[in-house]
């Protein structure tokens, strides 16, 4: 156990309560770990652990229910927004969120997420975009960029035969039911801090009954990109951010009133 010597020092950071003590199966340097921790920190700061139900999806984050210490259910691939809808409609006063990767959300689950957003379901969605299908070994995803090499686009994504990626946050900005749609990144401390604020705002959107919230988080995947975590950070900055610009895509006007 790690203790502070309260007489002479303060604790600047320690593991949030809402993280279980289980070591994760994520690859070294995987930003899922950061996102999991940020969600835990925010839920602790809001004091909402006992009133939150998480919906795990299928992908590298499938076992998130082992890492976050709160009630959870596990959804079939792509269906988390539908499961979250079912839970939230029956238990409207609980905080319900989904945690999905880019294959889960933007490929097989595209109908479920678009309609949950269009219906303005009061749920929060955390969308980890690392431009590939991680769990199954690095195949092309709807977010893989033109020319990007993946195990199912081995000479680089050919837009002639394999089409173009989907910019989900931009797409959702046009949905009237969507209330908080932002894209952030997890590649450096400054952006991680901004991501944490966005996660908090997404939950506040839900708690204030303002509708559908989603935070798209640009993430790295060192293992399937075939480069080190440090080089993956560079790749995210140089290649992903120009294609998936960070920013606020839809902000409900009432959110301006909320002071944290």
């Amino acid at each position: 156990m790690v203790l502070e010597n309260c007489e002479i020092e303060t604790t600047v950071f320690e593991r949030p309560d809402s993280l279980t003590g289980t070591t994760t199966h994520y690859c070294p340097g995987c930003t899922h770990g950061i996102a999991n921790r940020l969600i835990a920190e925010v839920i602790d700061e809001m004091g909402m652990r006992e009133k939150t139900i998480g919906v795990a999806s299928v992908g590298c984050s499938v076992f998130i229910y082992n890492y976050l210490n709160m009630d959870f259910v596990q959804a079939p691939h792509g269906r988390a927004p539908a499961m979250a809808t079912g839970i939230k409609r029956v238990l409207p006063d609980r905080m319900v969120f989904t945690y999905q990767g880019d294959g889960d959300l933007a490929s097989i689950g595209m109908a479920e997420i678009v309609h949950a957003a269009a219906r303005g379901e009061n749920i929060s969605v955390f969308f980890l975009n690392n431009t590939n299908y991680g769990m199954t070994g690095g195949q092309m995803a709807p977010t893989s960029m033109p020319g990007q090499k993946t195990t199912s686009s081995q000479t680089g994504r050919d837009v002639e035969t394999q089409g173009f990626p989907i910019r989900v946050s931009e797409m959702f900005s046009k949905l009237d039911g969507a209330s908080y749609i932002v894209r952030r990144s997890l590649h450096d401390p400054k952006h991680i801090r901004m991501a944490k604020k966005a996660i908090r705002m997404a939950f506040e959107t839900q708690v204030h009954g303002l509708g559908f919230s989603m935070v798209e988080l640009l993430s790295i995947c060192p293992t399937n990109w075939g480069i080190s975590p440090l080089n993956s950070i560079k790749w995210l900055e140089e290649k992903m951010i120009p294609y998936y610009p960070l920013g606020d895509y839809k902000i409900h006007p009432a959110l301006a009133e909320i002071k944290l």
């Binding site: 010597n5 600047v12 950071f13 994520y26 690859c27 070294p28 770990g33």
Partner: protein
């Protein structure tokens, strides 16, 4: 003079990804090449003085393995 800080790495969580090492503004962290964790990773550790308890390492650590302390102001400083 910056406040003195210290970090403690809970080694069972550390996967030797080096994100903290490269993020530390004071460059006091490195992977310990002389030992490995139970999972076979070289854990991060403080290798130099100069930690200011800024917490940047704990922000970037994907495993929440790092606890960060900073001395309180107005208390006798332990000389660096």
């Amino acid at each position: 003079m910056p406040l003195k800080g210290r970090i403690v790495v809970t080694e069972k969580y550390c996967k030797g990804c080096e994100l903290c090492v490269s993020s530390c503004p004071q460059e006091v962290l490195a992977l310990a090449n002389d030992r490995i964790t139970a999972k076979g990773y070289h854990p991060a550790t403080m290798v130099a003085d100069g930690c200011t308890g800024c917490g940047i390492c704990s922000v970037i650590c994907p495993e929440a393995a790092i606890t960060v302390y900073r001395e309180k102001t107005g208390v006798n400083r332990i000389p660096a």
